[in-house]
Amino acid sequence: MALARPIGILLAKELRTEFRTRELLISTLVFVLIVLVLFSYTFEPTTAESKRFGPGLLWMALLFAGSLMLHPSFTREQSNETLVALRMAPIDPVSILAAKILANFCFLLAAELVLVPIFAALYNLRIVPVLGRLAAVLVLGTLALCIVGTVFAAISSQARMRELLLPLLLLPLLTPALIASTEATVGLLDDPPALSAVYIGVLAAFDTIFLTVTWLFGEYLLEE
């Protein structure tokens, strides 16, 4: 694979940059926690109510966090003009995007590793029996968020008002992913828990389609 090596090197670089400061990870964690606490004021968080509203608010919180934390992927590079250097490297420009998507995916999954247990405890939800299936939903849903989010961060970084623009572009486009991951999570909290094949299918289709579109058209965003 001609893409694998540059992606690996760039991914290591992204992870190294983040773990030197850990600022993205920590601010995402705190942000989602705040949102989860705030949501508890909007309804009576008993187990029965939480089963109905919990999955939606978890995914809304992750979505909002994503639309904030994905932003630095490109602005970080811009402030030091390092994107120009990356583009001069003799690699397929798509690998720059792919590495950033993967890096953001790792960051968000790491945050979820901490957040989901806290969420379950705060809202009295039993996730231990469905842990494996929940992980599958989280992986597919987070990937959907990271693919489109990273590409749109590349778009918004080239415009004015970019902090505001990214959520505007991202949130409506993520409608199908939000519906599918929320509904799949609701199914897992049901009694007895059931994983909806339909919504897993929608998430998998979303990921596949937008990875392909990124692969075909993403490079245009990086040219000068």
Partner: protein, 240 residues
């Protein structure tokens, strides 16, 4: 009289005839009565809007492949004409739904995906206003357009699994549309398509002129002077 004026007059006449047929020629619907006649505006504007977005999507791909500015002009023009057409559909829908369904809005597959479509293309137009450099604007918004176009079927299918309340298609296999109703519907669609073509042509020419002004300005700047007339034109352009 110029061709432009003739075309405008023709489209106006066609729209008037279509409206007359929709209101007086088409038969009364058995259960819904008069309110059903909004169907002759709701459906044609929707279909024409989809035609506009399809043009926009294809033009965006063509722009990325060929880098001919004309494709970008066509992409933005058809999106900008498509948005008000969808707005007509989104406004006439609830006017019909309130007496027939008893509610203004329901979150079913067609309604929601049309609404998301509208939001996405409003965002597309917004994105374009936020990038100043013409070529960057064209490339970046073309990529966004492609993402948006692929999203719509996904939105539709993800909501389709909730029970859908929107009336099922009455045209084609299994439909029960009176032939006279179909004739009027097709006439109305023809009229809205003519309107679409007229607006598209106008908007395309505006975009072409905008590009020309920008080019002249850059040329003048590279020669070290901006003629006062051109500077004024540009200011007017930006404030418009």
């Amino acid at each position: 009289m110029g061709t432009q004026a003739l075309a405008t007059l023709g489209v106006a006449l066609l729209l008037a005839v279509a409206a007359y047929c929709a209101l007086f020629v088409a038969p009364n619907e058995a259960t819904m009565g008069l309110i059903q006649r909004i169907f002759y505006f709701h459906v044609p504007f929707g279909w024409s809007a989809f035609v506009a977005f399809a043009i926009s999507f294809v033009s965006s791909i063509a722009y990325l492949r060929t880098r001919t500015p004309k494709w970008d002009w066509l992409a933005v023009s058809s999106a900008e004409v498509g948005v008000p057409f969808v707005t007509v559909m989104l406004v006439t829908g609830p006017i019909w739904a309130h007496p027939v369904w008893g509610i203004w809005w329901t979150w079913d597959a067609r309604l929601t995906s049309t609404f998301v479509l509208w939001v996405l293309y409003v965002c597309y137009l917004l994105l374009r206003t936020l990038i100043d450099e013409p070529e960057r604007r064209a490339v970046v918004s073309a990529v966004f357009n492609i993402f948006a176009a692929f999203d719509i079927p996904l939105v539709y299918f993800s909501i389709w699994f909730f029970r859908t309340q929107h009336p099922q298609p009455v045209i084609g296999a299994g439909g029960s549309l009176d032939p006279r109703m179909l004739d009027v519907l097709l006439l109305c669609w023809g009229a809205t398509l003519a309107l679409l073509a007229l607006l598209l042509r106008q908007r395309y020419r505006v975009e072409a002129l905008r590009w020309e002004i920008e080019r002249l300005r850059l040329e003048a700047e590279s020669r070290g002077s901006v003629p006062p007339g051109l500077a004024a034109l540009r200011d007017k352009e930006y404030s418009a």
